[in-house]
């Protein structure tokens, strides 16, 4: 178990900088998820921690030791790749044992660890197969198995579930979470899927265009997004964003807000139907326990509201909508959060 500390880490390809001085601390034993839109630099950051990518500037320490100059193999970490990167010419057993034999570990110790990993991941009967004879989920398990046999101080995951179908993804998510609970090793996990991020992370780092937007627990990120980017990125469906000026918004009128509020964000579950401003229902998505109601206000502003699954609302209906100002989020002109009602919440 080790902490990971990034100090002003930068990455540039030629003159083109893609990571702009990232400072980040991953605590020992923490499950840190790096999340962000594609191309935000999250994979690059992970690969720099792994030692697969050069660092243009800054420091990376693992377990209190600067590893800038250490090759990947000496950083005592494991990595699970998006494509699994299983060695196609080796059996599952060899795939698991390969890294250990490189460490010149005694044979019986290798055997013990491989058997243990196979037991944990329930791949015992696959041991003599080649990767091409495995299903997607099985490959995924082997890839994870290869990571855990080394008993590293740090696990790195690069979108490990993105190649699985929806059902399997949910299942593996649970298994990964269980694995984390059992091992308690520090994990850094890259994904673009915010459900994965929310469900698994101890803390989440939101990256955007090579900068960290916010680091926090899923709770903090959801309830106190530091800026508009995080607010809209975290949460599904997305937060509604209303332009504000002069203490109120165009659609909902004066709200007595401070003058520096430029945007008001309301999560769909905080919109209340039945009173307030009139809008037109343009689409209704029925999910069983709840429904999503797409509304268009007279100004043309689009809104998405969540309502109880039993609510009888149809496309084309007129609907009234309102929200509790205390449940809303407020952002200044530069996009940063204005802590208007945070204390109350």
């Amino acid at each position: 178990m080790a902490s990971v500390v990034l100090n002003d880490v930068r990455k540039a390809y030629g003159k083109h900088e893609v990571i702009h001085g990232v400072d980040l601390e991953v605590r020992s034993g923490e499950f840190m998820v790096l999340v962000g839109p594609s191309g935000c630099g999250k994979s690059t950051l992970l690969r720099m921690i792994a030692g697969l990518e050069e660092i243009s500037d800054g420091l990376i320490s693992i377990g209190g030791k600067v590893v800038n100059e250490l090759p990947a193999s000496q950083r005592n970490l494991s990595m699970v790749f998006q494509s699994y990167a299983l060695y196609p010419h080796m059996s599952v057993r060899r795939n698991l044992a390969f890294g250990l034999s490189n460490l010149r570990m005694p044979r019986d110790e290798i055997e013990r660890r491989v058997t243990e990993a196979a037991r944990i991941l329930q791949i015992g009967e696959l041991m003599e197969r080649k990767p091409r004879q495995l299903s997607g989920g099985q490959k995924q398990r082997v890839a994870i198995g290869r990571a855990i046999v080394r008993e590293p101080q740090l696990f790195l995951f690069d979108e490990p579930l993105s190649n699985l179908d929806a059902e399997l993804r949910v299942q593996m998510r649970v298994e990964l979470a269980n694995l984390y609970n059992r091992l308690g090793t520090t994990m850094i996990y890259v994904t673009h899927d915010q459900v994965e991020a929310m469900t698994m992370a101890s803390r989440i780092t939101v990256l955007n265009a090579g900068n960290i937007e916010q680091v926090g627990t899923p709770y903090e990120l959801y309830n106190f997004p530091r800026n508009r980017f995080v607010a809209t990125f975290i949460g599904s469906p997305k937060m509604n964003m209303l332009a504000a000026s002069g203490g109120g918004t165009a659609d909902f009128g004066a709200m007595g807000l401070p003058a520096d509020v430029a945007h008001v964000g309301v999560r769909p579950e905080h919109l209340v139907l039945g009173s307030g401003v009139a809008g037109k229902v343009t689409l209704v998505e029925y999910l069983g326990s709840e429904i999503f109601v797409h509304l268009t206000l007279p100004s043309g502003q689009q809104l998405l509201a969540q309502a109880d699954g039993k609510a009888q609302i149809r496309m084309g209906d007129a609907a009234l909508v309102s929200f509790d100002a205390k449940a809303a989020h407020y952002f200044g002109a530069d996009g940063t959060r204005l802590p208007l009602y945070d204390a109350a919440a």
Binding site: E54, N68, E69, P71
Partner: protein
């Protein structure tokens, strides 16, 4: 140790065998031939510096040089694409599960094993004589074929056919490349209702692009340097009427028959420049159509 230094160290460690060979055995002779290209050198006596005279003669007065260029360019322009298309088609045919496939593969490779041996030259002459096997077959369909190798109008084309006939090497490389394409991709395409043609252009060509590129570049280089076939079949002279005067045949004669090693060296460097230009163009355009699985875009 600094990571950059370590990287260079690893890179050069792996490069070392080649580098030693290149610096010790290859570059010296190459540069020496460049020097010779500015000399008059009959091999028997020491080279005499004559500046650009060789090049001036080549571009100014040497009609056979121009003829050799014309013959060689024609050969490259037709033999290379034809050979590649043929090799790829046969490789794809032999890639699929047909009975006795191994035997066919071996048989199709045989002509390439024969190479430019004397036997091939003799046979090729017999095949394409005025009363040879080819004309006998053409006779069945009512075509009165000419003496293919004897007639300067047809001799080069006959040699192009010979070159295409020896398509074994690119075929083998294509085969190796085809084996690296995952079968599931075709299955997936099948499900997506992509026809064979579509599959070829959507899967085979893009995934085979690095191999196609390799074969294209190498076959082009080889074609520019093509020697044995024309040399043996024309009895070393490029006959009839210089229609088989391949560039390297001309070069060889200048060097070894007429002992003009200096001039031959100049010829070699002009050819080198031509090949290098075409290769550079190929590499430059490859950026747009060759993508490597192992490399991030």
């Amino acid at each position: 140790m600094n990571r950059v230094i370590r990287k260079n160290l690893a890179g050069y460690a792996f490069l070392l065998p080649w580098l030693v060979g290149f610096l010790l055995l290859a570059i010296g002779p190459i540069l020496f031939s460049l020097y010779l290209s500015f000399t008059k050198y009959n091999v028997i006596n020491p080279p005499q510096w004559i500046g650009l005279d060789n090049y001036a003669y080549m571009f100014g007065r040497d009609a056979r040089f121009r003829k050799a260029l014309q013959v060689t360019f024609t050969f490259v322009a037709f033999a290379v694409p034809a050979k590649l298309v043929f090799a790829l088609a046969v490789a794809m045919l032999l890639d699929k599960g047909i009975r006795a496939i191994g035997i066919y593969r071996a048989l199709f490779y045989l002509p390439s094993i024969l190479g430019g041996s004397i036997a091939v030259a003799i046979l090729w002459r017999n095949l394409f004589n005025a009363d040879g096997v080819v004309n006998t077959i053409l006779g069945f369909v009512g075509i009165d074929g000419p003496a293919w190798l004897a007639d300067p109008r047809y001799s080069l084309w006959t040699l192009i056919v010979l070159a295409v006939w020896q398509f074994g090497s690119p075929m083998l490389i294509f085969l190796a490349g085809l084996r690296a394409i995952p079968q599931e991709l075709y299955e997936a395409a099948e499900i997506d209702a992509a026809g064979k043609v579509k599959q070829f252009f959507a899967i085979t060509v893009p995934l085979l692009a690095p191999v196609i590129f390799f074969n294209l570049v190498l076959q082009m280089i080889e074609a520019f340097k093509s020697f044995s076939g024309a040399f043996i079949i024309s009895g070393g002279s490029g006959a009839p009427l210089d229609s088989l005067l391949f560039y390297t045949v001309y070069l060889f004669n200048e060097a070894f028959s007429f002992l003009r090693m200096g001039y031959a060296s100049a010829l070699a460097w002009v050819l080198l420049a031509i090949i290098a230009a075409f290769t550079a163009i190929a590499f430059w355009t490859s950026k747009y159509w060759v993508h490597y699985e192992g490399e991030r875009g």
